[in-house]
């Protein structure tokens, strides 16, 4: 089943064509990697899917529903959660509260019940805290839940962003360079975490520069160059593709 489908999507910034007629599918339950040299438009694709940008033309379908142009919080409500390339945590708030931010869209208490702390609000709050602690256990940060998020190491901040995304009950998580700033050991643990996310039934779409990680975990790769898709398919096929080799050689010193 196709969970996410992009059809002939284009995005311009002034006269610059950032994305040109992009079409690809993400199958439910898979791990898909979006790769390409710097400036190829990978993060722009993510921003179009999550509603931060509105594509000029083309369609985006999530579970059959058109989502192009929806505001980001609506997209999260529908079941797409993301992490950011440049970490965007709420640095002065606690680790737990950062995860609770992701849970926000699944809770309902209104202004008055929040002011009065009605029994329903308390029950909902308790359940939200319990659920968020589960996510913190999942990424291994549960014992640090009271610390300020800004004080965590880079790698742990990335994990916290993943926990925050997972707390919104997503069906698709979009990870923008999850291994950025991680050492080898942390990256190895991240591979397990990403697989565990998929095993929970959550589809994963990720941008990553660490080619070893991409080759190891992705079932499908989509390769972008200058906003155009130059190849897609299984990792072992894509790495043999002449167009991909040409795009990467000289343009980038990634090791394959």
């Amino acid at each position: 089943m196709t969970l996410l489908r992009l059809e002939e999507m284009s995005k311009m910034f002034g006269g610059l064509i950032a994305l040109n007629d992009l079409t690809f599918d993400v199958e439910a339950g898979s791990i898909v990697g979006l790769i390409g040299p710097n400036g190829a438009g990978k993060t722009t694709v993510f921003n179009c899917i999550t509603g931060n940008y509105t594509p000029e033309s083309g369609r985006i379908f999530f579970d059959g529903k058109s989502i192009a142009g929806l505001r980001p919080h609506k997209v999260v409500e529908l079941g797409i959660a993301r992490t950011f390339q440049t970490i965007r945590l709420f640095g002065r708030l606690s680790v737990l509260e950062n995860v609770l931010a992701g849970r926000h869209c699944r809770t309902r208490a209104g202004l008055l019940s929040c002011m009065l702390h009605t029994p329903a609000q308390r029950a909902e709050e308790k359940a939200a805290v319990a659920r968020c602690m589960e996510e913190l256990h999942f990424v291994g940060l549960a014992d640090r839940y009271t610390e300020a998020a800004g004080g965590l190491s880079y790698g742990n901040q990335r994990l916290l962003e993943i926990a925050r995304a997972l707390a919104s009950d997503p069906r698709l998580v979009i990870l923008d360079e999850p291994a950025g700033g991680m050492n080898d050991q942390e990256t190895a643990a991240l591979v397990d975490t990403i697989r565990a996310i998929r095993d929970r039934g959550v589809t994963v779409l990720l941008i990553e520069h660490d080619m070893r990680l991409v080759m190891k975990i992705c079932e499908k790769l989509v390769v972008l160059e200058h906003g155009t898709m130059i190849a897609q398919g299984k990792p072992e096929d894509v790495r043999q593709d002449p167009a991909v080799i040409e795009a990467y050689l000289g343009a980038d010193d990634e090791k394959w």
Partner: protein, 323 residues
Amino acid sequence: MKNIPCNTAVYGAAGLFLCALPFFCNAYWLDVCVSIGLYALLALSLNVILGQAGIFHMGHAAFFAVGAYTTAILNTVCHWPVLWVMPLSGAAAAIFALVVARPIIHLRGDYLLIVTIGIVEIVRIALINDVFGLTGGANGIFGISRPMFFGFKIVKSMQFYFLVWGMVGLSLLLFYGLWHSRFGRALNYIKEDDVAAEGCGINVTHYKLAAFVLGAFWAGMAGTLYAAKMTTIAPESFNFMESVIIFAVVILSGGSQLGVLISAFLFIGLPEVLREFSNARMLIFGLAMMVMMVWRPQGLLPPRQRRYKVPAPPDAAREGRPA
């Protein structure tokens, strides 16, 4: 960041102090304390907007004015009892806030600040020009009746003191509840990083507007108390300087509720204490502010971290992740 603990004991002591305070004051100081209470109320309501959500709003006196004038008009023209129109005055201010804030809510920081300064000026000038023939022009409205509280007429300063500070106490409780809930957290997320907040599923526009409307509602109700206390209101009571004072009280407080109370005492009380220095008093006051901003830029009492009861950790590590 080290936070001074502000637990129940501190609030209990503060409550006792505030209850005992009027019995040690002469008539003049009693009026000052009522005035402090009103500013505390206004600052608590602005704290939701400025302290919690980080929206730079310097036009709070406009909402205060809308509330006070709504009370004055409904009381002098329709002869409705003052305290009955309190929710209506709040609602009028809230609706006004919704209308003026909707088009500007996407503005950030200093841009929004400038527009909100415009709002307070527009309201003041509209009041001076006697809009709809209801506001009495530059003279304002007089003859507002005293509030009745369960058949008990509130006239003396002492009675007003307990009415105003009772309202402050109630607001403290309700705003504390708000702070320690998904609503309060949502405002904090927006203050920290509104792009990330939106990306996490928080409807940023909705919550910013909600903060504005709630703050305006409370400022409108404070307007009712003010109108009832003064029995006369005029446009000059709601000028830009008032907005600046309320703004400064919140900034000085650091954002916690106890901080707002202390800050209101310092801001309104200190110039009165320094009255004997006559012309030098504002100089001393200004100097104190500067020293404060250099040595404690985060404000008097920043809010402490919320505490959560978390369930005991599961016995076994969750599946899917080797320890």
